[in-house]
């Protein structure tokens, strides 16, 4: 963390899943806030957050957590941000920065903005980081390290507020990019939403095959299939909300994907080896770029280690 970072007086985290808990751990480790107030609706989850020592105060009512907070971050599924914003709006401190971590930005802005008082600074954010795990136990310090966080400030927010939230994310280890919500939603549709949809779909297809048993799918999954199961193990609520809230961009890239797939399908049917070879060569290059950009490991098989194991039959 840079020496010059001025900690927030009170950080309110509404929702304490993977992202919320990772933010709490970062805020504590890097002294980003003097007080961390945590709220979540389920009493059981709140108790767990308290057991883990993730914050300084714990609240079943989101409005209690945001009181006197100068930074409020909604860490709930994107389908819930409207209701939560409505609930906390009357309790928000004048001048507070209100942000979120949602994977869709257009819909989040549309849901939150109407409820927000004029005297708060609204700066939506999206950290491009995650794992397939969820809940308060899933959080860890390094989650945001060397990962991008995209801010999509809306008209009316001050540059100072955007700048302050930017330094917060940098202190968490992120690099920060600023773009419009519309562009964000298009970019994420192709790099994140479509990949998740495809992963969910292929795992579903395999699950429902008549001629191949589920046990066979599991046994031979190291031949490719298992790579998809990680994304397809992501939080169902979060992803349901993503698709419902980034519908148009997702359907658009999905149409492109299906069109491209028809071309490959035809090439296979017609035995066009040269065309397949050309496509498969082109795609190889993009992985090299991702590794060079530090966004994935160069180790074979993602550097997976094999677990010590008992064999199934």
């Amino acid at each position: 963390m840079s020496e010059s970072f001025q900690p927030f007086e009170r950080l309110a985290l509404i929702g304490i899943g993977l992202i919320g808990s990772s933010l709490a751990i970062n805020a504590r480790a890097h002294s980003l806030a003097k007080h961390i107030a945590i709220s979540t609706r389920r009493a059981e989850t709140l108790t767990r957050a308290e057991e883990l020592g993730l914050g300084d105060s714990f609240h079943l009512q989101a409005a209690d957590a945001v009181k006197d907070a100068d930074l409020v971050i909604l860490c709930v599924p994107v389908g819930s941000v409207g209701a939560v914003t409505k609930e906390i709006a009357p309790a928000l401190k004048s001048g507070a920065i209100v942000s979120d971590v949602g994977s869709v930005k257009g819909s989040v802005i549309a849901q939150m903005r109407p409820h927000l008082p004029e005297d708060v600074e609204f700066v939506p954010a999206h950290p491009i980081a995650g794992t397939e795990q969820s809940g308060p136990d899933a959080g860890f310090l390094e989650l945001f390290e060397k990962r991008w966080c995209i801010l999509t400030p809306v008209q009316g927010a001050s540059e100072a507020a955007t700048e302050r939230l930017k330094t917060f994310w940098i202190a968490c280890g992120s690099d920060v990019e600023i773009m419009t919500a519309e562009h964000h939603d298009r970019v994420l549709a192709i790099v994140s939403h479509l990949p998740h949809l495809i992963a969910y779909n292929i795992v579903g297809t395999a699950y429902d095959m008549e001629e191949v048993t589920q046990s066979e799918v599991v046994k031979y999954s190291a031949s490719g299939f298992r790579d998809f199961t990680r994304l397809a193990a992501s939080d169902p609520t979060m992803w349901r909300d993503v698709f419902l809230n980034n519908r148009d961009a997702t359907l658009e890239v999905l149409a492109r994907f299906s069109e491209d797939l028809s071309v490959l399908q035809r090439a296979i049917r017609d035995g066009k080896g040269d065309q397949l070879f050309e496509t498969f060569t082109k795609t190889r290059a993009i992985r090299r770029e991702i590794i060079e950009a530090g966004q994935d490991t160069p180790k074979p098989n993602f550097g997976r280690t094999k677990p010590p194991k008992k064999w199934e039959g």
Copy 2:
């Protein structure tokens, strides 16, 4: 390796890519053959195999390598096995076990069988193991460890030959399953061939987007996309041949995949959240099964480590 394993007199490996070189390393480490003869068509690759000390003798002509060999394993792309078999057939020793490592079995049998003399034992094999890397430098000892190897013995091969090849693969760390070539090709179509095709396709789609730059795709790839780039970085020749040689089974599972995708697409368009939630919950279970079966790591993000890195702009 079991104490009772009787080493082969001469193991001939035709082709020395990821699988061939990993087999050579295993044969040496576990004393599975008294002599390892290596052949590959490209002089440069053969020289590299020799520099790496992968074998005892090195041959540009496959026929020279198989002479006096009691185990011959073709480790070439499945599109080349017919031509290679034709070439080595006259030099094969009577009673030799002839095998391969191809990802498709029906086509491999159809290509190889007509050329093989009656007095050799033909036992096709497919180790379900690999990485996205290729070439003689990619091989390593642990590749087959705790991974399945499928044998698809054809009519005419003796049980003794199948049993002997089975012990060879067990000595390499594999567990061995026996099934028909036809069933193998159906199973692999869903667990391996479709996943690779989909991965190649989605990476191709992202590459060709007009509204999102390639640099953005690379930067934000940790949000899901990067998982697909590993499979899409696999050897283009190998995969061209797989699709051309397992055409019918691949097209069949692809049709199923597309049908399922249309259902998801419709659910998104119609805002059917419950249906999406149900699908995404079902798929989560299959990853747990894969982890319990020891076929993937339980660590978040495949246990990837972040490379020390210089940022791009």
